[in-house]
């Protein structure tokens, strides 16, 4: 099958001291698909996510993005590569206005060390920031200090900031963590909308949430890849059922 692969990991492993968090995961992520990485607590989902998003390098193995080896690339280069992420714990510029949060995220692409002009005079940023805030439904919150937004709104702002670099690959680490059912629904709708325009990889603890929206699923367990396939494959996989025993879906 000659499918276009956007991201590939080749036997990536990660150890923290003696603790082996992840052992040799080889997997491919097709372009344009929404792939979810699921697994019970302690399965190594977050570690795997952090390797994909470049928060730290793997102990061994390779990460390839669009056929290019990006293992060990510093985090700040990822935006330029075309990869953006949202964090599991909300990570914002808390004391700055919502609009300025997005504006700064956009600015990273065009001006990082310029001290000679006014930041307000950088062309186009205000319009792009407004568009992004509209996408995630935060335009009427633009003047609020980011730290004062509701939890769900903060998560949405994080996604707007991730979108600022126009990423071809968007990585989301438990975007609905700590959200109310209402906020969760809004967020899932947003993710489906975003996934229609770009590749999305989603880490999620709650299997039920992602079954309906994912094109593909990866199941991790004890730092190993337990299963991968379409939601239907996973639903009927005996090993996966055993792992998720007690919280079996449907």
């Amino acid at each position: 099958m000659s499918q276009d692969i956007i991201l590939r990991t080749d036997a990536v492993a990660k150890s923290f001291g003696k603790f082996k968090a992840l052992s040799g995961i080889t997997a491919s992520f097709p372009r344009g698909a929404l792939t979810s990485i699921i697994g019970p607590n302690g399965a190594g989902k977050s570690t795997y996510f952090n390797l994909l998003s470049g928060a730290f390098p793997p102990t061994s193995g390779r990460v390839e993005f669009e056929g290019r080896d990006i293992t060990g690339t510093p985090q700040h280069r990822y935006a330029k590569l075309g990869i953006a992420k949202s964090f599991q714990i909300t990570t914002l510029f808390r004391q700055i206005s919502t609009l300025e949060n997005v504006r700064v995220a956009l600015q990273a692409l065009i001006s990082r060390y310029n001290i000679w002009t006014s930041r307000a005079k950088l062309p186009g940023l205000a319009e792009q920031a407004a568009a992004l805030l509209n996408t995630v439904g935060l335009w009427d919150r633009r003047d609020r200090i980011a730290g004062s937004l509701a939890h769900g709104e903060q998560r949405a702002l994080e996604i707007a900031m991730a979108l600022a670099s126009s990423p071809r690959l968007l990585l989301l680490d438990e975007p609905t963590a700590g959200m109310s059912p209402e906020e969760t629904r809004t967020m899932m709708d947003l993710i489906v909308k975003l996934a229609s325009e770009r590749t999305v990889i989603l880490v999620e603890h709650k299997m039920k949430l992602v079954m309906g929206i994912s094109d593909r699923l990866l199941v991790l367990h004890h730092g190993e890849l337990l299963a991968e396939g379409t939601p239907d494959d996973i639903r009927h996989n005996e090993t996966v059922k055993r792992v998720y025993l007690g919280q079996r879906q449907h």
Binding site: Q95, Q107, A108, S165
Partner: protein, 316 residues
């Protein structure tokens, strides 16, 4: 707490207000020499606060940048016969150079480690200056800086006259305030705030946090070095204590006293500190006790500092 609209107006016209203040200030001050001191330490505190308030990194080694600028200016004048303005330029560049070196070594660390590493490196500079007697005068300080007349585009000014001296220094301080204000409003200023607010997010946005910090340290060194150079002209001597660690502590105190979260807070902190020092020491040799108590009270009850509290009210 002042009305929000008034505060906003002040913020928008901060450069104009600052210049107006600098013009009037010596006329209301009983001793012009203190006014000059306040300008110099105020500038030092503003430069320091670029790291502390804007970027969120506490440096305990800024004495090396201030003192480095002071020595660079003094050495240029004494050993190389440089004119006064070249001395000031040497101070500015000297501060930046030392900042580039100390910053390059310290910038990997953060929090308390950054404070300790900068402190240690600044002490290295102090001991180096202490030993290099031929160049720096060692523990006697660098003497022989005699600037009594200065020449600006053919106009002779009597630098011994306190008011003239004040206004010459004030011109440089005003220029520095304009430049600093522009830097804070620039795209780079936005990056500094972003790095302060959240390093991980800044990195994910695509900002190189380490380079940003290093550049900020060098820019901070420029302002502190300029302040040091001006002090050399003002004192006609560079005391070795300029490089000693209490100078680093002093500027931290000034920034906290005035309010590290505001633009002018550190400047005002420097002014209040020096005025207190001068007034209280008139009637007791234990002036540090009282000034220390005021500082402690300020940190406990007005954590935003004097200027921060005036602008934004008491922190809850």
């Amino acid at each position: 707490m002042l009305p929000a609209a008034f505060v906003a107006t002040c913020k928008r016209h901060r450069v104009v207000l600052a210049i107006a203040f600098l013009l009037i200030f010596p006329l209301v001050m009983p001793f012009k020499a203190i006014a000059v001191n306040i300008l110099i330490y105020g500038l030092f505190a503003l430069g320091f606060n670029l790291m502390f308030g804007t970027l969120g990194l506490l440096s305990f080694g800024h004495a090396a940048l201030f003192g480095g600028g002071a020595y660079a200016c003094g050495i240029a004048i004494v050993h190389y016969g440089a004119p006064w303005w070249l001395g000031i330029l040497a101070g500015l560049l000297g501060g930046m150079l030392i900042a580039a070196i100390i910053g390059g070594l310290a910038i990997r660390t953060r929090g308390i480690y950054f404070a300790m590493v900068t402190l240690a490196l600044a002490q290295c500079v102090y001991f180096a200056a202490y030993q290099a007697t031929d160049l720096t005068g060692g523990e006697n300080g660098l003497r022989g800086i005699d600037i009594s007349k200065i020449n600006i585009f053919g106009v002779q000014l009597n630098f011994i006259d306190p008011l003239t001296r004040y206004y010459v220094v004030a011109v440089f301080v005003a220029l520095a305030i304009i430049v600093l204000s522009r830097i804070l409003a620039s795209p780079f200023g936005a990056v500094l705030e972003a790095v302060r607010e959240n390093e991980a997010r800044a990195r994910a946005c695509g900002y190189d946090v380490r380079t940003t910090r290093w550049l900020a340290f060098v820019v901070s060194g420029g302002f502190c070095g300029l302040a040091g150079g001006l002090q050399t002209l003002h004192l006609s001597i560079v005391p070795i204590e300029t490089l000693y660690y209490p100078t680093s502590g002093l500027v931290v105190m000034m920034a906290l006293l005035g309010g590290m979260g505001t633009f002018f807070g550190p400047f005002i902190g420097a002014g209040v500190f020096l005025l207190l020092e001068n007034l209280v020491s008139l009637w007791t040799v234990h002036w540090q006790l009282l000034v220390g108590a005021i500082f402690v009270a300020c940190v406990m009850f007005f954590p935003r500092g004097i200027w921060g509290t005036i602008l934004m009210g008491r922190a809850r």
